[in-house]
Symmetry: C2
Subunit: 388 residues, 2 copies
């Protein structure tokens, strides 16, 4: 038991990870305190959070939001500095009072604040998978140089972390990421071609926001998680596999070289991996509904189908193309998902667009953030220019 209160800077406060993080803070006020909150455009939620947790600093996406938030706080008799955009997010990520940064923004925009937090010597609990996808090599170097840790928040990576705990690295044979298979797990290719954005945004199990929900439907989410796992656990890409498990009870598994497999299981609830990252190596007595396997009755497992879910083949290609491959895959996917949501392309064209970009890529490794951001921008620009 530690008596020291952990001070948390939270980026992505109004999203589902952010709200779950605040739920844990609320349950353990003697252990955690929120010192800064960064949000996007959900100003009413952020205002309510600010009134409840009284952070020292707030950040929002744009000026309009900042004004709205200031008025809401004024009305509540509160005065808290409000910052805007990436400088705001970076200020939240580097606030000197913070011991740990929960990085739960969505998309590539999360990379700079994550990098800044590590550079400022903060441990980072990372839900923003794009950070590791785009810059895993660099972030590991920065974390190591600053003697801080990158702690996984995804349920899958938290499961791997838990199943690896206490084991000598030499014995690890394989990381097996489970995947729910998304809403179209049993769709034929012909059915998939007809999928609308509305269908793709209705995930059977999780409420995660539109981008991640669509990534889950294409299984691009799992592709990104493979890259994330590759860096979080310093594991060769060919040792990372995907296993479809529709019930989402087994959150992931580690196979050891003796053939033994360790798995982490639980009811699907993001508060569990969040609490684990915040309390590690201890575990908090979370009073949440518990898994009862006799009630669950049955767990099913299927091989992933790379024909219907080409994202899983594309990620192998991306990983074989160095840092540039992973960045290109992520950038192309973000733009493709935007176009799909806008009704400009069909569901199956998301993967095709990513494949087209990967075909053009020259393998490169990047050792600085500007190189990474520059390459990311180039990929996006060329896609936008081509209108393709």
């Amino acid at each position: 038991m530690t008596n020291k209160v952990k001070k948390i800077s939270l980026l992505g406060a109004t999203g589902s990870i952010g709200r779950s993080t605040l739920d844990i803070v609320t349950r353990f006020p003697e252990r955690y305190q929120v010192v800064a909150l960064g949000g996007g455009r959900n100003i009413s939620e952020l205002s309510a959070q600010a009134q409840r947790f009284r952070p020292q600093l707030l950040a929002v996406q744009d000026e309009t939001g900042a004004e709205e938030l200031e008025q809401a706080l004024n009305a509540a008799g509160l005065k808290i500095p409000i910052m805007v955009g990436q400088p705001g997010a970076i200020a939240v990520a580097t606030l000197s009072e913070a011991n740990i940064v929960v990085a739960a923004m969505v998309g590539a925009v999360g990379l700079e604040p994550t990098h800044a937090a590590l550079k400022a010597g903060k441990n980072v609990a990372l839900a923003n998978k794009e950070s590791m996808v785009m810059a895993g090599r660099l972030l590991n170097e920065v974390a190591s140089a600053n003697k801080v840790a990158i702690l996984p928040l995804d349920s899958e990576h938290s499961a791997l972390w838990q199943a690896l705990n206490g084991e000598p690295e030499s014995g690890v044979e394989k990381l097996i990421l489970t995947a729910s298979g998304g809403p179209f797990r049993e769709f034929s290719l012909a059915q998939m071609a007809e999928v609308t954005p509305e269908q793709a945004m209705r995930h059977p199990r999780w409420d995660m926001g539109p981008k991640i929900t669509i990534d889950s439907a294409t299984m691009m989410n799992k592709a990104l998680e493979i890259i994330e796992a590759r860096w979080l656990f310093d594991m060769a890409p060919e040792k990372i596999e995907v296993l479809v498990h529709p019930q989402s009870i087994v959150h992931s598994l580690v196979e050891y070289r003796d053939g033994s497999v360790l798995a982490q299981l639980g009811l699907p609830d993001m508060r569990l991996p969040i609490a684990y990252a915040l309390s590690y190596p201890e575990r908090l007595p979370l009073d949440l509904p518990k898994l009862n396997l006799a009630e669950t009755g049955q767990l099913d497992f299927f091989a992933a189908d790379e024909e219907r879910f080409p994202a899983l083949a594309l990620v192998r290609k991306a990983l074989a193309s160095g840092d540039s491959g992973a960045i290109a895959l992520n950038a192309a996917n973000e733009i493709a998902v935007d176009r799909f949501r806008a009704g400009e392309i069909g569901f199956l064209e998301i993967a095709k667009m990513v494949a087209g970009v990967l075909d053009e890529i020259v393998a490169q490794e990047f050792s600085t953030l500007p190189q990474i951001l520059d390459f990311d921008a180039k990929v996006r620009q060329s896609l936008l220019n081509s209108g393709n």
Copy 2:
């Protein structure tokens, strides 16, 4: 990697655990060497093992076996000292050259050699569950006083050990032992009443010898494992549960206080837990068939039915009756199984006989081996006298 060869004394060499242990030794001759072998009545197997592994000492159950073994070794031009009975088993268990004793005898007869091995400062890899059932408290004290470890060999306890690895004890909420449910998992009580010894000795999955196979059919095996887990992991009995899992892929699970569950999985093969105990904390690169969950497809779980399997209720009663309860349960069960095999009592009467003995027991704790053996003998004597 250690360069030191581990020297193994193996008790129960010709049984299924013993043979699997020797398979591991054969696969890793640079790591393991057999220095002593103890067997029962399968002299031809023991002779073949002795010729292959050239131990310094042999032990067999009786004089007839010793003579037969001596002749066989003479014919092969080998001269190895042969000892007989409990003194022989104890000599194997305490041989000064041995670093580790694999205790794989079946039944209460395994207790004295296990105790002697720990007292002689040997680590003990324990498959003889009766040792922990009868004398868990005492054996833990002896192990601790001699700074040696008791390492589980049962697949269930090995699974718990692996799922507990690296975790602070304070976070453990529950140990969940899986059970195949045995061959009569779906039998009604009426069907069970008609079960013959031949039926009970045909286990669907494992080849383990008649006593353990019948214990598996009554689920008394799982009752004994609860007691074993209670002492191996120093866990309050009410925190140990049983979950029926017919496929025997999930070997057991640990629930933590945050609701997270860690499970160890693998194809059912005793060589895996044996190798883990011999190589811990490393894992050996075992070239055995690997679990492929996509091929397995489905894992099923059921609550254990204490009406049809009263052993699971009896063990709670036994554990509430101190050390004497566990000893009485084990002794009564051994005699009842003998009578069932001899056709003297029916299948359902095994548990009834155990229940009758537990009804008579006064709760006692024992701090010495003679007290334990004396109480064990009294229980057996009174059962034999009563003819009941």
